[in-house]
Symmetry: C2
Subunit: 134 residues, 2 copies
DNA sequence: TTTCGTTATGTGATATTATTACATTAGTCA
DNA sequence: TGACTAATGTAATAATATCACATAACGAAA
């Protein structure tokens, strides 16, 4: 896990933008937030996002084309398991959890089918408890 | 499950294109394949795709922005469970399976967190047995 | 410290995916 | 018929992501 201090300028700016946000941000939203810091092109954002994904500091939510800071940056509980995301379609809040049973079942399938998995996406769309209460 | 016969002209064209294909297709690939049939605009494809998704005849693969015909159209084995997809990044082949244990664990999480799920995506990216053997 | 290779950055153009807005046509059914 | 709904056609545009190429910053090794 690469600590924040080793990030480059652009990587830090993008990571801080995601950390400040209370939900996922699109690449272009990040770009707009960082115009004042000198950002001018999408690639500046995408390149930083790629590195932050490499470092495991952020996640990409495939089903909504957006990015979030990792909710458990200092925990290794996720390091051996797949991470699932519950995404509220009302408020945008994202909950992150990992489940060893799910991880195990997926591994069983891949192993018995000779499939070498590189990345697994589990995203639950719906309405969170807060928004559902209304 | 709406049978093919009840599909409109555009829906049939799109569904047949996906059925013919041996892997997922992007909306614009479908559009190109259907130019000879009179398709001229993306919306003709997207509208048909939306309906076919409604009818459960096709799936959308969120992680690669593509669509596939449902692999088990005549089976109800999936109707109560989540469907997982294993997507080969070499050859593009997609395997579809459902797992009651995974479905159960996801439901446990959502129930105990008061989260009302509407759609769940499980996509495994990697290399299939055939391609890995090379 | 200079040189070289690597990594990061800046910028414009372009590719890819998806939606909005509005007009028209085709069925359905009271 | 008339009125309603679903489906279609078309142009324009929005949103997301990458390519190509130039420049700068950095680190290791001579």
């Amino acid at each position: 896990m690469t600590p924040t201090q080793e990030l480059t300028k652009n990587q830090s700016l993008v990571f801080n933008a995601l950390s400040r946000a209370d939900g996922p941000l699109s690449a272009y939203t990040i770009l707009d937030q960082l115009r004042d810091e000198g950002f001018r092109a999408p690639l500046q954002v995408y390149r930083a996002l790629d590195k932050l994904l490499d470092y495991g500091m952020i996640h990409r939510l495939e089903s909504i084309n957006a990015f979030v800071a990792c909710a458990h940056p200092h925990s290794h509980s996720h390091s051996h398991g797949m991470i699932a995301f519950a995404i509220c379609e009302k408020c945008g809040q994202v909950s992150e959890f990992s489940d060893d049973v799910i991880t195990g079942r997926v591994r069983e399938w891949t192993t018995s089918n000779g499939f070498k998995q590189s990345k697994t996406t589990i995203e639950i769309r719906g309405v969170c408890a807060n928004c559902g209460a209304a």
